[in-house]
Amino acid sequence: MTTPMTTSPRDWKAGRSAQVKEEPAKRAGDTEQNALPSRLDAPATWQIGGRKLQSRFLLGTAGYPSPAVLQQAIAASGAQVVTVGLRRQLAAGAPASADGDFFGIIKSTGAHLLPNTAGCRTAREAITLAQMARELFDTPWIKLEVVGDEHTLQPDPFELVDAARQLVKDGFEVFPYCTDDLVSCQRLLDVGCKILMPWGAPIGSGQGLVNPGALRTLRARLPGVPLIVDAGIGSPADAVQAMELGLDGVLLNTAVAKALNPVRMARAFGLGIQAGRLAFEAGVMAQQDMAVASTPVAGHPILL
């Protein structure tokens, strides 16, 4: 049954362990992300980058067994945003038709495109690639990725801030793939980013949330800023955990693309992200050290 909910999660003050006590936004504008669904079977809309979405799942499009599986996985996931990339062509003057059907399939899903700057090592490279992506995909959205370490593919916070500053000035909606470091996240907001995409774990590692404490800190210190955990998610349980922490969305690719059955896994993640969000809105109970009897037997043993 569906019961209309009347209290805002921000009003929840019972000291629940998983509930974040939030402060007024200091660095971001009013980006209230917590409108409650009037019916529990219809997820509330939220806003990101000027668009209204229902799904909080952003799905990568790389590494699927086939274009058909990719297409079915996008449909099964419910994702309304998919990431895409750009590649320098290999052969001189080769026609661009090789991946033509890929792009056609992506466009046919109707999902919003979030192009990335994967492979960039410097702000300058990332800016050039972002400009190309804006033209090619006809969107100001850019997942800004500037890698600083080859083994962990950790974002380079310095190049990232530099690139973000220039791209924001140039009219981009920057989705920075960043570390979970609070101060570098604040710097990204200072240069005009309105969204943050902290990593859960290194890209493609499937380790889940390596540092949930840092994500909890980001949520507490940056209320109202859309936070999307990006990278490192392995199983739907990781996505549930991220959503229960109060993050606003989850972006992943490998965990679906490399599952034995990507289509079913896409659905599993879609459901997990919904469940985690509902749990956050509902307020997870506080853990107790000892048992607390749940059956109200008036506090005395039953002696027949």
Partner: protein
């Protein structure tokens, strides 16, 4: 109008295209793309590391030694 009409007669120049040597008589990036049979809206272009938007390709003159790179949409995470 085609900006190339006002240009001097074409001569052959050697470019680097996506890392490989390449000769052309094209005077502009737009002409080069037409000569290669490349669809204008299917690729993004840069010359010598700088992005050249679609709207600027007809004005972007090519010179000996220029490096063209072309980018296409691919899957991404």
């Amino acid at each position: 109008m085609n900006a190339a009409l006002t240009l001097p007669a074409a001569s052959t120049i050697t470019l680097t295209v996506n890392g490989a040597a390449h000769t052309t008589t094209a005077c502009t990036l737009a002409q080069w793309m037409v000569a290669q049979g490349l669809a204008g809206d299917a690729l993004a272009t840069a010359v010598n590391g700088a992005f050249v938007p679609r709207t600027q390709r007809a004005q972007r003159l090519l010179a000996e030694g220029d490096a063209i790179v072309t980018f296409q949409p691919i899957e991404g995470g």
